[in-house]
Symmetry: C2
Subunit: 775 residues, 2 copies
């Protein structure tokens, strides 16, 4: 049996090499690196803590002194239009709309020592270098570029916790490697609360930095080792400490092995021959320098760069090949790049010995699970986590366990909202860890303490000081005068509460189920029968005035307007249709949404909403409307869903640097694409249903962790044949606009017969529409 497996594996390798292209070869890490995508092109492995990537600029965040919109553009540190590279840092977010990280920037240079980054307009004023895309290469787990100013070729690869740098130098008596502890993303003067560095010996350096940013108290430790002995070095404190103590007896800036303070830049000098490579292994730990050293030794015990590069690619292929598709190359590139982006965040957040820093800053040992961090939940509960329930079942259990650990360590006793690196950053709204957990639970992923999970979802949905929950419970909606963005909050709480209703019902907690059944309909309290929109109310029960259905500013919606946000009723579309007065009203609404004109002014104050991500007034570049194209299926016109899916797939995802129409948001944009391309989408996670859209591939095979395969096949699929004529599940006609999670997991075949014209008779029975709370 073992032999056969090895043979199979060998066969696969041969297939790949003969077949020339592996899934990883289709990935284009530059997609999304221009404008709104906020992705980064650097080297990482799936869910790796180290995401080693170039910064093309470091813009200071000037909160409180007038907001600098440039900062937003640099959420991932990289913008494709730039022509300089500041250096290579070890941590990045994939596609966020706010930021942090960019820790431990390394830059190799030659010539006069410079310890300031310099400016974009005058790169010679600092250590940064000009570069061109001609010399740049990026593949999963590998990045390469020529630093023109220094004539250095930089190559990067990575394991989960260790970044591996290879810098090929010219001949020089003054080659340097800069490690800038002050550099960071969303940086501001004072962000580095404290930092420390120690030259342990002539190849090993350790240290840490503590920052106060999006994460209020963030500690990250490192261990860095060079392949070559350091000739000389300096650990420079650019901002003198007020209190110098008796350290002043040393010249700490030059060849003195330890330094601490707020603004430390270090340099390490070498002599190099032409073509000589200096390699750096750079390990991270959130716990200690000791653990960073352990991580380093455990993950890369040698200096074979190519071996780690190949291993990184193999790790990606292991993940990416969980789905194979047949489609034109452009689609394959976008699809595998979406898969790639879907498996970047969250990240593994414990050391090789299992230790991690908890939310309370105490050190814990992950017991029986892998701990994860970076939960951009307002984004990712929609499609990314549901995608994981199919492709990453074990990780989903780990993620639930990580969230329950967060809950236990939380002084508020609530689940994460937007959490990263032992911190709750409180960004955006909702308690969307709840649907993530309930969705996993409902789908049978239960390798965690279910009782604790139930306690956690109840506790999170009842924590009064958070975002108007106290008012929500009292009034049945969040009053805008007491807590802003109240319409969005009320809508999302309603959905989240519906998942708790499902959970409670499932475990037989009838009384609680009844309570949340009621809470799940809170959105109705904000329905305005006159304008037909979900609108913000004040605590006097009156709608907030003046009302502007198109504006995203001060209307009670967060990053959205009434036209888009009112449709956020994923668990009760039928209930909403009833409010509207019939499904035709919903059809008209969505039709209009996609075609109407909206002025720039309407969304000028919402930086996450951008013309590039819009079709009419429908905003695909941001999350609140991601379910909207599928809502036609709840109103008996699934062919319109089919049409819109192809329109969005074709127009909003392109194989080019500006190919993403909005922030990737830790993979949510990508997950939407993966589902939609396959032909179905999780409109209401927790329902165990996926609403059927329209496949954008000839065929696809999903390889499941249980060994089963779920196949998507098409007949007559072409660019024009985007409408469904018939659907067959395991050979039987599918007369409903949804498929069930268990149907996927059991393995089988979903066969679409396509047509260039809509089949308006497919699924005419209302009982075959997807789940709604209201029957």
């Amino acid at each position: 049996m073992k032999k056969i497996l090895i043979l199979l594996f060998a066969f696969q390798v041969i297939l790949f090499s003969q077949n020339s292209k592996t899934p990883a070869d289709y990935v284009n890490p530059f997609i999304g690196t221009k404008d709104m995508g906020h992705t980064f092109p650097g080297a990482t492995v799936p869910f790796g803590m180290v995401q080693l990537s170039p910064e093309t600029d470091t813009v200071l965040f000037t909160y409180g002194k007038g907001y600098n919109p440039e900062v937003y553009r640099y959420c991932s540190g990289y913008q494709y239009d730039d022509n300089t590279i500041v250096g290579f840092s070890h941590t990045h977010f994939n596609g966020t709309g706010h930021s942090d990280l960019g820790d431990f920037l390394i830059m190799p240079t030659v010539g006069d020592l410079q310890i300031n980054p310099g400016t974009k307009n005058d790169p010679d004023s600092g250590y940064r270098s000009l570069f061109s895309h001609q010399t740049e290469e990026a593949h999963p787990g590998y990045y390469k570029v020529k630093l023109d100013d220094h004539k250095i070729t930089a190559e990067l690869t990575s394991t989960e916790r260790v970044g591996f740098h290879k810098y090929t130098f010219p001949t020089s008596d003054s080659s340097h490697i800069i490690l800038d502890l002050t550099s960071g993303i969303y940086n501001y003067d004072g962000k580095v609360v404290w930092s420390s560095i120690r030259v342990e010996n002539d190849t090993l350096v350790t240290g840490y930095r503590q920052t106060n940013g999006w994460a209020r108290t963030r500690l990250l430790y490192f261990a860095m080792t060079f392949s070559k002995q350091i000739e000389s070095y300096g650990l420079v404190n650019k901002k003198e400490l007020i209190y110098k103590g008796f350290w002043r007896k040393f010249n700490q800036n030059r060849n003195f092995p330890e330094q601490a303070g707020h603004e430390i830049v270090s340099y390490f000098n070498f002599k190099t021959e032409d073509g000589e490579a200096i390699l750096i292994k750079f390990a991270l730990s959130a716990v200690s320098t000791k653990n960073a050293i352990d991580n380093l030794q455990a993950e890369i015990p040698h200096w074979d760069f190519n071996k780690i590069k190949l291993l990184a690619k193999q790790k990606w292929n292991d993940e990416l090949s969980k789905i194979t598709i047949e489609a034109e190359d452009e689609r394959k590139v976008n699809f595998y790049t979406s898969m790639y982006h879907s498996f970047m965040n969250p990240i593994i957040y414990n050391d090789v010995n299992g230790e991690y820093r908890g939310l309370d800053q105490n050190i814990y040992k992950a017991d029986g699970f892998t701990n994860y961090t970076i939960f951009s939940l307002w984004d990712t509960y929609r499609a990314l986590h549901p995608l994981y329930t199919i492709l990453q079942q074990q990780r989903t259990n780990d993620i639930v366990n990580s969230m329950l650990a967060h809950y236990e360590q939380s002084v508020h006793k609530i689940l994460p909202v937007w959490s990263h690196y032992s911190n709750e950053n409180w960004c955006m709204i909702g308690y969307h860890a709840v649907p993530v957990i309930v969705d996993a639970y409902m789908k049978g992923l239960r390798n965690y303490d279910v009782k604790k999970a139930f306690d956690a979802v109840l506790s999170s949905s009842n924590y009064k000081p958070y975002d108007g929950i106290g008012y929500y419970k009292k009034y049945g909606f969040v009053p805008e005068d007491l807590n802003s963005n109240s319409a969005s909050k009320t809508l999302e709480y309603s959905y989240d509460d519906w998942t708790i209703y499902k959970f409670a019902e499932s475990i037989g907690e009838k009384k609680i189920a009844d309570e949340y059944f009621k809470r799940a309909q809170s959105y109705k309290n904000l329905f305005d029968p006159v304008t037909k929109f979900i609108r913000a109310k004040n605590s006097d029960g009156k709608f907030k005035e003046p009302f502007d259905a198109l504006s995203t500013a001060n209307q009670g919606y967060i990053e959205g307007n009434a036209w888009n946000y009112s449709l956020y009723v994923p668990h009760d579309v039928k209930g909403f249709i009833n409010l509207l007065g019939g499904k035709e009203k919903l059809i008209t609404w969505i039709d209009s949404l996609f075609t109407m004109h909206i002025s720039d002014e309407s969304f000028a104050h919402s930086e996450d909403v951008d013309r590039a991500g819009m079709i009419g007034n429908y905003v695909h570049g941001n999350e609140p409307s991601h379910q909207v194209p599928y809502m036609y299926c709840y109103a008996g016109e699934p062919w319109k869903t089919q049409e819109k899916i192809h329109q969005i797939v074709n127009s909003m995802y392109k194989n080019r640097p500006d190919g993403l129409s909005g922030n990737d948001d830790c993979g949510q944009m990508s997950a939407w694409y993966i589902f939609s391309v396959l032909g179905f989408y999780p409109v209401a996670p927790g329902s165990n249903e996926y609403v059927v859209g329209s496949p954008c591939v000839e065929s696809a095979v999903i390889k499941l962790e249980n060994g089963n395969q779920f196949k998507i096949e098409t007949e007559n699929y072409s660019k024009k044949n985007i409408y469904i004529k018939e659907v067959y599940l395991n050979g039987k006609v599918l007369n409903r606009t949804f498929i069930k999670h268990e149907e996927i997991i059991s393995g089988g075949t979903l066969r679409f017969v396509m047509s260039s014209t809509p089949n308006k008779d497919w699924v005419s029975e209302e009982s075959s529409y997807p789940y709604s709370l209201t029957k």
Copy 2:
């Protein structure tokens, strides 16, 4: 056997109670709290990490903006002449001349809430309170005072890691307990690098603060629990963070359970009845809040204040009764207070689970030893550590192990210089951990890795970047133009090196012994045959000019002048006599030293040198001359030692707040007193000899850890009979001016026959003088 021990113990207790006064009852913690002593009166247990004591003022250190001499007065937070108490904090140094600490200041108040301390001159401007010494009480392990402004009686006691507060309130609807995380000793704006606080539930609060002071990077965590539920509270960030993040959605200042930032003051509100006591248990940990909670639960699992108070007293009596003396009450008070002060620093520095923060900031588990910190080694290697080799043998092994752990965690690979709380603060000079270790080793205290200890002393004495060691090795002295205080450094390195010579010789490392035999005589390189002083030389080999033998400023001596410092040759007094040209020269020198006039100007720049601690030009209030009175014994005139000892004992140690003539310096001043009162002193630790002075008690019994007793008896002892006529060791005439360590440890009796006139014939043979390297 067990029964007998219990009976004996019971008998002892009865004896104490019948006899009315235990050793602890003689202790007056107020000695040294006025002017130069820098002691504190608060509650602590022997070597306890928690040293819970009132601050009578909090003066801001303004380093770099003109030094404020007031700061120096508040090294321990308390000055007896003050009439306000700011609050009670948990960490203090005993008698240092520089400072830090004062962590976690608690203040109970009544009435309008005030979160600023207010000023000494206008106490109503803040939470501080007037108090008077009439209501103040201090005993080992217990402190009490009435806070007049608030009509609150404050009582404090402690275990090793937990402070126990008892505040008896008047009737009030607005009683408060303030916890000020910004308060500190040697404080300055910006000292708190970061702090954090969490209200875990309605009685438990946790948090930490990270400071940048004398300790460059110091982290201390706490767990605090109230005996009564908190009614309401506020965690106020007095200095708004630049970056507010999404925390701004909360009102963090009022009843919100977590806060972090640079300047946090918290308050907890209660309603109290008249005479109602609110108790607080406050645990520390240098590792984590989790460990602080563990410490709290392990050490005080109940709310019985009186029980802990009695336990603390018992712990002190266990230590203090290691020596019993017969003497007049005033002497007993000074003696037991000296014992008390000798057992305060170093402190236990690991949690109940054995974990501690190492010098490299990693967390370690103390394996087979108790970890200690606070090593004021320039002071304490002289007499305090030698005292421990008699009274604290197990702790001496622990201390050596703690120092070796420091060595291993040091990036410089050297032993502590002046270390506290996981930090080397680099204060003062020398590598005096070396004599501490060698002294322990030579005396047979070897429960540590001797090989590692030897490596550590070699490494410490060869670390070139530290205080001119590189130059010292090159030139045979430290050149003043290259490294200041060079004469002091050369003298002290010579002594330290001599101990390495002894160590090397003992373990048969002949080559190394030879090298250090030579290094031990480096002091000779600075002897000026013209002026007869040890003087600073520059790297050109010439003595630094102009020379002022009386000045303590810029002459190459640290906190001393040529007159005093030149005599620092404890290991080779004979060698120095030879340089001088005969022992009469030394006699004349010391005679003059004690009688000559010195102007205030001469020591105006040395804050540790004060008229109160001087006899002529001899400075007893500071350390460099502590061996000087005993040097007569090396020149054949021991009666002059006898005379001076009584003069110093009588004039420099008084039972009153200003009773200490200089900084207690973590017990060195006290240890000098204990030895001298007993009749001998360790002039050259490492020699295993104690130079005989003159007893200042009728009798004394030292109870040793091996069960032996060493008795000091006198005949004809009186205030006038201070001279030795004869000495008998175990009944045999002692014809030498020293006793050996093994003679003490073996147990026995040292009997002094006293006289009102010197016996100039006692020990006339030069071969019976104490050890000198030069025979």
